[in-house]
Symmetry: C2
């Protein structure tokens, strides 16, 4: 028994004629006749009395008709529900962060996602460039913010802005910082995040360029921890410009550093995933950039 049997059953019961039911269902009358016959055979009952005036429901048919309608309604509920879901994203998206929410414009991103996809659960997970990249690779994150050049062909990378870096210094060390020569600064204690963080790379590049090495280092594997360490006077560190504006406990040294790009990454193979597309659309709106052109668009 298939749905078309039931559709025909209901149509014939309502039209009381195979001919009219056939017209309503855009098919031929023998086809309708065969449907009814097949249905009667599989059900083992007679649904209609055949009269010269048409088809009249038997008491058994009368009794089965509402159930057939119910089955059709249930099937059409599946379709209708699916229609309502087809442009709606449900489930959850996990986005890895690598710095503070303000700078990443998270509230605007969240607002845009919430507005367009109210049933989408958005998880903003703190992390760092170093932890985000593998997380995206293995699917623990759907996408992530990262800083620095990414050289991974499996990743799609979306440039958001350039992030100027400065050397941040604690106010408590101001007396000891008499020169902004890198070699002199290298003799002071340093704090940095993790080796795969772009700030670390910038620091390495800085010291390598001046052929020197910082005396002592301390790892803080999260950016706000790094900033707190600097404020607390543990040592110098590389931070985003502006972090220490109007800060009592730390300040920025006037040393020229190359800026690093802030980027948004996700697995290239998911670039046509509606979830990724939705996030990218909102992200690009927030950052005022063009969304990457899709490789293939499917008909809805």
């Amino acid at each position: 028994m298939e749905l078309y049997h039931l559709r025909t059953f209901v149509a014939v019961a309502e039209e009381k004629h195979l001919t009219r039911a056939a017209e309503r269902l855009f098919t031929s009358q023998p086809a309708i006749s065969a449907h009814i016959k097949a249905l009667e055979e599989t059900l083992g009952v007679t649904l209609f009395d055949r009269t010269p005036k048409g088809m009249r429901l038997t008491p058994v048919g009368e009794e089965l008709l509402p159930r057939a309608r119910q089955a059709l309604a249930a099937a059409s509920a599946v379709m209708q529900h699916a229609k309502g879901l087809q442009d709606e994203l449900i489930g959850s998206v996990r986005i890895g962060l690598n710095t503070d929410a303000r700078f990443l414009r998270l509230t605007a991103l969240q607002a845009g996602l919430a507005e367009h996809y109210p049933r989408l659960e958005v998880a903003m997970l703190t992390g760092s460039t170093g932890t985000n990249l593998p997380a995206v690779r293995v699917g623990k994150l759907d996408a992530a913010f990262v800083t620095g050049e990414i050289d991974d062909p499996s990743m799609s990378v979306c440039f958001l802005c350039d992030e100027p870096l400065v050397i941040g210094a604690p106010a408590s060390l101001r007396d000891q910082i008499t020169s902004t020569e890198v070699a002199d600064l290298a003799r002071l204690p340093w704090v940095y995040t993790s080796p795969d963080c772009s700030h670390f790379a910038a620091m390495r590049a800085l010291f390598d360029a001046h052929c020197c090495e910082p005396t002592r280092t301390l790892i803080a594997n999260q950016e706000d921890a790094l900033i707190e360490m600097i404020r607390a006077g543990v040592g110098l560190g590389i931070v985003r410009a502006g972090v220490f504006s109007d800060d009592e406990q730390a300040y920025e040294l006037p040393v020229a550093l190359p800026s690093v790009p802030l980027q948004f990454v996700y697995l290239r193979k998911r670039e046509n995933d509606p979830l990724i597309r939705a996030v990218m659309d909102q992200l690009c709106a927030v950052w005022g950039i063009e969304p990457p052109t899709a490789i293939a668009r499917e008909a809805g």
Copy 2:
């Protein structure tokens, strides 16, 4: 969308593998794959994530699964309900009577029908042989009791018993009935039912055989009315033997009359109608006769 799409959907959701679902559904893996693909296309949503380990429901699929189950359940409810109905007769059967219920053994017939077909409504409609026959012909009755020979090729006739006839006379006329010669009796008033009743035919035959005619007649178009008329002293009449046993108001005259057959009739073209078959089965059980062999029996 057809039911097999939903069946496959549910099977794959439960088995989490196309291969296993194919085994469960006794078909091939590409067929299952095509079902899911087609369903996803008609619904416009992605139901499964394809992983190297198998198929995993998407949130959308998760949401649609219970509805798909519901639709399948509704469809299978149709089948189940039909199974329950397939040997059950529902609706109503209309049986025409032509004489009293005791003689027709109606209580036993009713009991048998009620026991085997509790949902069958049985209508026992009083009438006479003359009114029952056309009612059966045009479908106002499904079957009927009649007396006398029936010569109608469109009717199936089932003989039940011979009905001996007697002349019933009112006790109040006993003094006037001095002879049982038909010619003498003809001078008395007579009551009979209707011209197409077999009792009437018997009376005509009686008088024709003796070349005489009753003086006065009165028509009562129902048998119990006839009997009451006789009791009331209106006149003589032909009744079934035994009606006036132990009766104070009427008695039977010792005049030899031919007996007439009591029969049960229905339209010949309905002899394989389950309703007719059911009634015949019960009727034959009650009367201790063999049911007529069916022309064709269908597989249940």
